[in-house]
Chain length 196, copies 2
Amino acid sequence: MSIDIAQFREPNYPIQRLFLERWSPRAMSGEIITTDELNTLFEAARWAPSCFNEQPWRFLYAHRDSDEWSLFFDLLVEANQIWARDAGTLIVAVSKLTFSHNSKPNASHSLDTGAAWENLALQATSMGLVTHGMAGFDYEKARIDLNIPNDFAVEMMIAIGKPGDPALLPEQLQEREYPSSRLSTSEISFHGTYPG
Amino acid sequence: MSIDIAQFREPNYPIQRLFLERWSPRAMSGEIITTDELNTLFEAARWAPSCFNEQPWRFLYAHRDSDEWSLFFDLLVEANQIWARDAGTLIVAVSKLTFSHNSKPNASHSLDTGAAWENLALQATSMGLVTHGMAGFDYEKARIDLNIPNDFAVEMMIAIGKPGDPALLPEQLQEREYPSSRLSTSEISFHGTYPG
């Protein structure tokens, strides 16, 4: 069930291994995530940087063995339900649209929440947990069903689990169950003005 | 010039030290960042997760000893210029608003760019470099002066440098030159629906 990352991802510059080891598996075991494990992930998230240290990120969650699970699970599109039913915890991440100190719009609310999400994902990887970020869910239903206030944006859902057996995934998902590649650094970074 | 992080930040759950060690100093030494160092940061950034693996992030940059430096430096508000003049490299991060595979709007473009930025910042920390994200600059001037296409959002600026001597900062910035604290995990995470 364990994958040799080096077979899929080769860095051109020497980076921390954790960045390469984090990927987005769908195979999860159906085991629970403990509240201590989950709080350790939120602990990592909370130290992310944010504009004016606003910390716009908020995380709503449901454990698989809780009454609230179906409230979260039912938000997902079917293509995600197929595998996310074996997650231990589902999260809906939201972000505050305005600054607390002056109520003005915070242009960085999504950007900063992405930084917190990445900390959460990296910490999970270091603990042998798997995370999978999702946009495939009903954002408006999430707002209504989870009482998300109007001054918060719905950002993403996250499935967290213990690693599962890829052989138990539907066949077409098994074929996609490996760490994805990336654009090269020269395709995402440019000296001076935007090229073209 | 080195700070005892434990004096300022105490985690309630056992997380990777890197998350605590990353903070946003203003004291930078005026030394250059090499192209290899910078590419190592972009290497970390590129392995961030993104919706449909779109990788919407792009990084425009200028080294302090290049002709393009003033183009980037002049975008900053004066409050940032005061200390960012001693950065080694300035970055303008932008993100693609639409998916490459179907040209539809990508609701996660800022969120995903935030994940890439956090990887960059953490990798820098691990290399003894300092990073400081900034919203205090002229976003529209950035778009014009750096030829940023209309289907990209201007997300943030980033100053990257070697650690400098805080005693050389203006007095009011010296007072703020320490790692900031955070909300507790119980203030940013909620079981079930949004509380209240």
